[in-house]
């Protein structure tokens, strides 16, 4: 089966006045459909930048990103927007809900932006489905400030999943959550991957979160330093990953 997402020798340079920072220095990887992949590395390693390039939020300086066989490295703004709206889903560390909108409206946002009617038919069912998936029934009318941090992040996950994206990209989704709530969120992501075949790319610096992945790419100084194949494991034990990381000096 061809990869759903590929990166070919990606570089990304940020110009900061007279100086520049090279966040990525030639990264290549491939993600298979239905795979749970983690990008792991310390702060400033370039993992979030890589995720942004993979999700069409930004464009590489050189190299290419191939999404479902299509090079998305140099899409126009409108095409990149359409890609994000229809084929990818994002979950951020900071939840990023719209405070003015309630839970249902936040989840329905991608459809609303596309001008679709979410009050009836399939879209209504899909919204109800993801609300059930993230266990927020009865809280559809709550505003973000009336939810706990874990609930807010579950809304963000539901919003990312509601369009049934080809790839779900999550950037440190447990970064603002406590241990237990973070675990519940990772369970929800893993469940969507394992039972629904959702492809997930997770950025994290936490070995416990990365241990949910089938494969872990270790990034450091803008380069992939290691690729750890953990395989699909329902117990998500972090021990093998930690041992391997110790071997590579992380």
């Amino acid at each position: 089966m061809p990869p759903i997402l590929e990166a070919h020798d990606l570089t990304k340079r940020f110009e900061l006045g007279e100086s520049s920072v090279e966040a990525l220095k030639g990264v290549s990887l491939a993600v298979q459909p239905g795979e749970f992949v983690a990008l792991m590395g310390p702060s400033g390693s370039g993992k979030s930048t890589l995720l942004q390039l993979l999700g069409g939020l930004d464009q590489p300086t050189t190299g290419a990103v191939v999404f479902e066989g299509e090079d998305i490295s140099h899409l126009s703004d409108d095409d990149a927007t359409r890609l994000r709206r229809e084929r990818t889903g994002f979950v951020f560390q900071a939840f990023n809900l719209i405070p003015l909108l309630n839970v249902r409206e936040n989840i329905a946002l991608p459809f609303t932006i596309a001008g679709q009617d979410t009050s009836r038919g399939e879209l209504r069912d899909r919204i109800r489905e993801v609300i059930t998936l993230v266990e927020l029934e009865g809280k559809e009318r709550h505003r973000p400030d009336q939810l706990s941090a874990g609930e807010q992040q579950r809304v963000a996950v539901a919003r990312a999943l509601v369009t049934r994206p080809s790839v779900l990209l999550a950037d440190e989704p447990t970064g603002n959550l406590d241990y237990t709530t973070g675990g519940e969120l990772l369970d929800a992501l893993w469940k969507s991957c394992d039972s629904a075949g959702q492809t997930v790319v997770l950025v994290t610096h936490d070995a416990r979160a990365a241990a949910y992945a089938d494969r872990v790419f270790v990034i450091r100084d803008g380069r992939i330093r290691d690729e750890i194949d953990l395989g699909r494991r329902p117990d998500h034990s972090a021990a093998p990953l930690i041992a391997r990381l110790a071997q590579v000096g992380l």
Binding site: Q52, L57, D77, I98, L100, L109, G115
Partner: protein, 839 residues
Amino acid sequence: MGLDRLAWRILAARPLRTLLTTLGVALGVGVLSSSLAMSAGIEAAVDRTVRDVVGSADLRVAAFLEGGLSEATVEAIRMTDGIEVAAPSIERRTFLGAPVTSAGAEAREAVTVVGIEPVAWSRLHELELVAGARLARIDEPSALITESLAEADGYILGSELRIQGHDQPTTLRVIGIIAGPGPVAGAAGRAVIVPVDVARSAFGLEGVTRVDIGLADGVSARDVAERLAERLTLEPYVLSSPADLAEGLRASTADFQATTALVAAIVLFVGSFLIVNTLSMTVGERAREVGLLRAAGATRAQVVRFVLAGALVIGIAGSAFGLVLGLLLGSLMAGSVRALTGFPAEVSSLNAGSLAVAFLVGVAITIAGAVEPAIQAARISPVEALRARLDLPATRRARLGWLALVFVAVAILALLAWPPAAGATGADRALGVYAVLLAATLATPFVLPPLARILGSPLAAFVRLEERLARGSLARDRSRTALTLGALVVGLAMIVALGWTAQAARNAATAWLADVVPGDEVVTSIRPIGPGEAIRGQLAAIEGVRSVTPIATFDLAIRGLRFDAAAIVGADFLADGRLTFIDGERAAALRALDVGGAAILPLPAAERLGLGVGDTISLALGAGTTLDLRVVGVVERSIPGDGGEAILVGWRDASGPIGVPGADVFAVRFEDGAGPAAREALETAARDAALEANPLSRVQGAVTDALGRVFGLFDALALVAVLVAALGIVNTLAMGVVERVHEIGVLRAIGMTRRQASRMVVVEATILGLVGAVLGAVVGLGVGAVLLFLSGGLVASAGLPWASIAIAAVLGLAGPAIAAWYPSRLASRVSIVRALKFE
């Protein structure tokens, strides 16, 4: 780095916001300084005019009756103790050149002829000659003319000059040219100065128009006035001092100055919204920095100073720029005053006092606007500030409360800078208007959400998400939105209110003339046309003319008060159906005028005198004689006089005991269906007789044009308020984008296009504009009602000012839409990656 320098850096970090706020202050100060400069210009013009009119005279006795002051009165003045110089003079308007009755004579512009006693007059009036010699005797056939007249009509020294008088023209020789436009007020530079006896003979007069008085050293004007009151018992007169004349001249521009000052205060008020909002935004945005400063040991006082330092920079820069704008606006205003009153107001030089006041007021209001944000900043707890943004409900309450205080501050400053000539009544009216505007602004946060929902709902049909997010954004910081919207509402309200006032004034003026003038055409003369002259018959003989009725306006003295009066032919008014009677029987009253011994009072005069039908008025006619007239009717509106509506009397009384020499106006009514040929023939005949014929519609048009010019200026000033409001909208929308940059980044990340992001801001501005237009119209009608009520013009027939409401609606929508241009671009250009990093 000192805190003051940090304040400067914070201003520099948001250059657009700083620039727009500075511009807002500049516009406010510009309007204020121009208003003050114009007031100073008017003051200077008043002084100049008074100097021209009375020279160095200490008192002036002016004739009240048409016959002038008799020789006995002049002699009595001369003989009064304490009077050193008494200079009698005659003033008449007439034409130069060929006799006016000769066919084919070309009518030229009128001139003002002043007859003087050369010796006495020159002791009180300075005359600067550019050529020739002065008058020497009271009977020499010589004349001095102004340089302006000489240039315009081609006269030189030695030219022969013919003055059209009551009979044959008087021929004089030009012996001197007076510099420039000369010293005769109201002559527009076309003045001829002749010996008094020559003038007396030319115009067939026995008396003189006035006597200027120079007092002996150490004698008080009050003592002399008392002595004159004892001695001058032969005929009514008006005694005035230069101060009285100045006061009268100031009064003629009082309404104009009051309205200008009011609009200036409102622009400043709107500007203060902008300042409060901008600095509040800055404080809110910099809450973290302020918290850090506090955590690092900065005292509350230091934080207050830090915010005020920023305000001071804006205040100084804005006020300085405002002074430059003020000069430009001042010239515009002075032009309007000249066009309106013919008063030679000039704003040609810098007036240090006006500049200083405007500058200080600008800085003071900026600082006043900054006090509330400064206090809020000082209250920021280091812990709270480092945790979240400063957005507390208490802030809103404090801000609205502060707004009331800023209102009071602006009101006090406006009253301090209030033009003295504008008077207390104008200040009352301004405060009334001001209070309505403040109440409306304070109510804005409460009516905003429901109105935004109602007015935004049509937009939701097309751009549902954008409308929802835009509405939410407006509700995010309701006090900020309220201030922004408040400024827009105030600006638009002023346009509606001034439009309504102007419309009511135009309607009233048009209806007034139509109600009282029994003609389609008004033929005016600068000299009285006596009953014996053939002109009336000549005009009446023109084919298509149905009636020609003579009217004369003059003054009457009743119970020591001056009233405007007019002589009319009652039968003509009866036949033509003019005048609306409130009291008295119409036909009987008008017939009684022609019989004599009767008068018809306009309502204001009836109320002032407390008289009604059946009462008697007693006119002082001089030499101790009186004329009793029975009040036979009270009319809603009467013939307009110099200072009000005229008491109507019949010609028998006017030309008899009252001594009116002749008509100065003929009202001409055409036959039904008379074509343009009749009008043309009438105008030709009038021109040949040195008369000026104008259709009533043109007279009405001239009145409404004059009103239009004045209100046009006020509208322009109100537009400045809308402009300041638009700057506030740019600031608020841009701030909304900056605050929501993370949210916009998220929306973009999950599929919102750049166009949608941009549209969201435009929709926000549109909702703001819609709400502003609706509130502006409502509040404008409220303010207009207050203005009309206070001026007695609020009547059902005034009608609503639909045109002004439409203009306000267009401005309300267009202003925010234009203001949204930059913020919407800002929103569309949000970088997703950077926005997501931004917490």
